[in-house]
């Protein structure tokens, strides 16, 4: 089988890519995409550690990933609803234009 | 209290009845399988104009005198008429060219209404598709000329009225012309020669 390091490296790089996107893009939706990718990188770590761990019958990693997926879905729904609400208010989804506290 | 979904079931039963019924009750099938079967022609149907001629000669028997009223009145200007002249250039009261471009014609029947000679009438022919859409849909005089019998077959009531009127006019003209010069310019009275 493939050494665990490989999966961890993939997860770390995925996290880095997601972080770069979230930090640099102007559009709120793309920032959300970056955050989703970071969450997925964490999930990959959970699964990898579960698979290579000493006690895979415990299912801890799988269950954690399962809950993380569910919570990520909730986060995406609320986040995108926020984006839509903000768009309705300010007619833009560019994050650097949202600089007013008063709508 | 109406139960949700009962209406759906009623509809389903209705279509199921159609399905079964269409197999054992041919009267349900309203489809006319066109090239083999045809609907009986309707008397008031109309499609594109044709030229009526009396007698057997499609050239000399044309009622058209090339007065060009229809050409002038035609809204899409799809009629083209050239008057025939003899060697001396004298007009002959007869069209040398009579073309109708039926790709332009809009079947308005105005030409029929304005014609003082009942020379142009509406045909019901509709199978007009051609491989050549420019030349093929430009009908020339020989294509347009149809006997009076044809007119009677398409619109019997109307044709009978027209014949009666023409006969009356001719009789009146003959009575008036009797003292004067002997032969009328157009020889044939409206005839339904073979059909009658």
């Amino acid at each position: 089988m493939i050494p665990l390091q490989h999966y961890l490296v993939v997860a770390a790089l995925l996290f880095g890519i997601g972080l770069a996107g979230a930090l640099t893009r102007r559009n709120a939706i793309v920032v959300l995409i970056g955050i989703e990718l970071m969450l997925n990188a964490a999930n990959l770590n959970f699964i990898a550690f579960w698979c290579y761990g000493p006690n895979p019958q415990k299912l801890t990693g799988v269950l954690f990933a399962l809950f993380a997926i569910g919570i990520a879905a909730a986060e995406a729904a609320v986040g995108l609803a926020l984006v839509i609400a903000i768009y309705r208010h300010n007619r833009t989804t560019q994050l650097d234009r949202l600089d007013k506290l008063k709508g | 209290m109406s139960l949700l979904g009962v209406g759906l079931l009623k509809g389903m039963v209705e279509t199921a009845r159609n399905f079964v019924g269409s197999y054992h009750d041919p009267s349900r099938l309203t489809t006319v399988q066109y090239p083999e079967e045809r609907l009986a022609p309707k008397e008031n149907a109309r499609n594109f104009p044709f030229l009526v001629y009396d007698g057997a000669d499609s050239e000399r028997g044309l009622r058209c005198v090339a007065c060009k009223i229809c050409e002038k009145e035609c809204p899409p200007q799809c009629i083209y008429i050239v008057l025939e002249r003899d060697a001396k250039g004298k007009p002959q009261k007869h069209p040398k060219v009579f073309d109708i471009d039926i790709s332009v014609c809009m079947s308005c029947q105005i030409c029929v209404e304005v014609c003082p000679f009942d020379a142009i009438k509406m045909d019901t022919e509709f199978e007009l598709s051609r491989a050549d859409r420019f030349g093929g849909l430009l009908l020339r005089k020989p294509d347009l000329a149809k006997p009076n019998v044809h007119y009677h077959r398409l619109h019997p009531t109307e044709a009978a009225e027209v014949d009666a009127r023409l006969a009356a006019e001719q009789a009146k003209a003959a009575a008036k012309a009797k003292p004067a010069s002997p032969p009328p310019p157009k020889p044939a009275a409206p005839t339904i020669a073979p059909a009658a």
Binding site: - | L3, T15, F19, S22, T30
Partner: protein, 398 residues
């Protein structure tokens, strides 16, 4: 279970696979299964288009196609030839790559979904734990393909159609999954083979133990059917296509072979969902009564599938198209509560399995039927007076 007629195709495959060296056998096994699935369901698609056109005709007192070949049986061939020889038009403003990929994203996942569907005794390409989940997971990509088609065409009708289609598919996926979950819950397995096997055996020696013969199973099948019709964009839920309003929705800019692929994908999706319904509620390959077990299992499966297809055609010939708001109201106000209630009914049925006092079966039936029936009547009563689901009133027409 070594009835050779029943296992005809399984034995044939085993014989063919055994001809090859051991190293290549798994590969050949996979290829054979995939080829059989593609061949069978593609021809079923051809048959269905003919059946649909003839059947719709008869439902509306018409003749249907009867010009190509005797009784028009060559019509699918003519349609196919027409589709293949048509010019493939891509709009100039379209996103070329996405426009090209959309039909593929539609067809390929649908075909993979067939891998977990059992089509007869021992006739399943991959039997793995989690088959139902796999089915719904690959089904989810259909929505993406519809969006790709709608957006890449750069046509407002396409985009509108795609938005409608996605909203509809997401809304109806919830009741579809919830209606399936009842069976998964009572059987205790996500594997479709296990689910079908759990329905083998006969009540009182003759009536099959299908889930549809329980109150929650019947309700579940009906709810599943409604959601399935919406999920595959079949009339009365074909709003995304709505020829009269948005010409053909996301298919406007497709022609020729790509359009044919979309068409194929839609029908394959319908067959797949029908097969899932058969496996979940109608006992898959099992015979309905014990004295008909001599008929091979695959005949039963495909017979039931044809029954489902005919039902869908019948529905299409009967019902008019809904409006988008009616569609959404129906999904969220009627279908979703009913599936949840049905889940409760199934749970009650499952836990009352241990009752052993006299008349227990009748009481179970009564209880389960009441749990589904009373909310149905109440919902029907409550919604019938509303604007959305009650009789329509027209402001300008009488």
């Amino acid at each position: 279970m070594a009835n050779p007629l029943d296992q005809l195709f399984v034995l044939l495959k085993q014989w063919l696979v055994a001809l090859l060296p051991v190293g290549l056998q798994p590969l050949l096994s996979m290829v054979l299964s995939a080829a059989a699935i593609i061949a069978v369901f593609a021809s079923l698609f051809a048959v269905t288009t003919l059946l649909e056109r003839k059947g719709l005709g008869r439902l509306q007192n018409r003749l249907g196609p009867n010009r190509t070949g005797p009784f028009g049986i060559l019509q699918p061939l003519a349609d196919g030839l027409k589709m293949l020889t048509k010019e493939d038009i891509v709009p100039e403003a379209a996103d070329q790559v996405v426009h090209f990929l959309a039909p593929l994203v539609m067809v390929v996942p649908v075909l993979t979904a067939y891998a977990v569907l059992p089509m007869g005794r021992n006739m399943v390409a991959v039997d793995f734990d989690g088959g139902v989940l796999f089915f719904f997971a690959v089904g989810a990509s259909t929505e993406l393909s519809v969006f790709m088609a709608g957006w890449a065409s750069r046509n407002k009708y396409s985009l509108l159609g795609a938005m409608r289609a996605i909203a509809q598919m997401i809304s109806y996926e919830v009741p579809l999954v919830l209606a399936s979950v009842t069976v998964v819950m009572t059987v205790g397995s996500l594997s479709l083979v296990r689910i079908v096997q759990s329905q083998s055996g006969y009540h009182w020696g003759w009536l099959a133990r299908w889930h549809v013969f329980t109150p929650w199973g019947l309700a579940g099948l009906l709810l599943f059917l409604i959601a399935a019709a919406a999920e595959c964009n079949r009339t009365p839920f074909d709003i995304p296509e709505g020829e009269s309003e948005i010409i053909a929705g996301h298919l406007v800019e497709y022609s020729g072979f790509k359009y044919a692929l979309f068409f194929l994908g839609e029908y394959l999706g319908m067959f797949a969902v029908s097969s899932l319904g058969i496996s979940l509620f109608l006992g898959g390959w099992e015979a309905p009564v014990s004295f008909l077990t001599w008929i091979p299992s695959y005949v039963w499966f495909f017979g039931k599938l044809l029954g489902f297809i005919s039902l869908f055609i019948w529905l299409r010939g009967t019902l008019p198209r809904l409006r988008t708001d009616q569609l959404m109201n129906f999904a969220w106000k009627f279908l979703l509560p009913m599936t949840l209630v049905n889940l409760v009914a199934a749970a009650g049925w499952h836990f009352s399995a241990g009752w052993s006092f006299p008349g227990a079966l009748a009481w179970r039936w009564l209880f389960s039927a009441a749990v589904v029936g009373v909310p149905y009547l109440a919902l029907g009563h409550a919604l019938a007076g509303r604007v959305h689901l009650g009789p329509r009133s027209y402001r300008y027409a009488t």
